[in-house]
C-alpha cells in the first residue's frame, strides 16, 4: 500500500504542484492545434499529476479521486471516443475518420478542427487512464489491493 509521505515539505509541494500539473495537461490538450503537444503528451502529464498524488498522499487519496474502475472506464471511453469520431464518416459514405462528415452545422474545415480536438481528447483519456492503472498496480505491494 502506498502510504502518505511523512515530510510536510513533500505534501505541501505536491498540494501546490498537482493542480498546476492538471491545468498544464488541459492546456497542452486544447492548445495542441497551435503549439507543440497534443493528446498523448497531455495524457502523460495528467497521469503524472495523479501519480504524484499517490506518492505524496497515499493510495487512499488517489482512490478518492480516480479509482481503478474509473481509470479503466476513462481508458476504454477514450478509445471509444476516438473510434466514435470516425464513424459518421462511414455512415455518410465518406471515409472512416473523415471528420468533415461530422453531423454538425460547421464548415468542413471547422469540423475537421473539432474532430482533431475530439480524437486528441480520446487519446488523452486513454493514455492517462492506462498509465495510472499500470502505475498503481506496479507500485502497490499490498496483496489485497
Amino acid at each position: 500500500m502506498i502510504e502518505r509521505h511523512e515530510s510536510v515539505v513533500v505534501t505541501t509541494f505536491a498540494r501546490l504542484v498537482i493542480p498546476l500539473t492538471h491545468l498544464f495537461a488541459l492546456y497542452v490538450l486544447v492548445h495542441g492545434h497551435e503549439s507543440p503537444g497534443g493528446g498523448f503528451q497531455a495524457g502523460v502529464i495528467l497521469a503524472a499529476g495523479y501519480i504524484l498524488m499517490a506518492l505524496a498522499f497515499g493510495r487512499e487519496q488517489l482512490d478518492r479521486h480516480v479509482n481503478e474502475r474509473l481509470c479503466l472506464a476513462l481508458a476504454s471511453g477514450g478509445v471509444l471516443l476516438y473510434v466514435g469520431t470516425g464513424v459518421p464518416g462511414i455512415v455518410t459514405g465518406s471515409a472512416f475518420l473523415d471528420y468533415s462528415a461530422l453531423p454538425l452545422p460547421l464548415s468542413p474545415a471547422r469540423a475537421r478542427w473539432l474532430g482533431i480536438l475530439l480524437v486528441e481528447t480520446g487519446v488523452t483519456a486513454a493514455v492517462a487512464g492506462t498509465l495510472i492503472v499500470l502505475f498503481v498496480r506496479l507500485a502497490d505491494r499490498d496483496p489485497d489491493a
Partner: protein, 174 residues
Amino acid sequence: MSELVLAGLLVLLGALALVAVSAADLLIAAIALGAYGFALALVWAALGAPDVSFTEAVVGAGATTVFFLAALLRTSRRRSNVPNPQRLVALGAVLAVGLVLLVATRQLPLWGDVGAPPSTHVSPRYLERTLEETLTPNAVTAVVADYRSYDTLIETLVIFTGGLAGWLLLARPR
C-alpha cells in the same frame, strides 16, 4: 554554435547511456536513463522537432523513470551477476548491431535535404493545405490527428491493449 550544442548533447547522451548500463546500483541506472531521455529531448529540440521533444521529455524522462522506479520497488536495487561468457556474447551482439546501424545510416538522406524523398512526397501537400483544410496552424497536430489518423488510432489501441495486458499480468491472485 548550434552544432556545438548538439555535439555536447550527443557526448552527454553517450556518457549517460554508459552510466545506465554500468551502474551497480539500479536506482542510479534508472535515474541515469531518465537524464538520458531528457538529454534526448534537448537533442530533438535542437533539431527543430518540438513535438517529438515534448513526447520524449514526458515519456522518456518522466513516465519511464517513474515506472522503472516502481518496478525497482518490487525487486532488488542490486544488479545480478551475469556470467562472463554471456557478457561477451551480449557485447559482441551489441557491437555487431551497432556496426550494421552505422553502415545503414550512410544510406539515409542528409538531415534537412529538401530534395530527399521525405521532403518531396506528401509533406509539401500537408504543409501547404493544412491551415486551409483543418484551420490548424500546427501541421504536426493536423498530420497526427487528421491526415494520418489511422496511425494514431492504432497507436492508441496499442497503448490501451498493452496497458490492459500489463494490468492483468500484475493482478495478484487472491
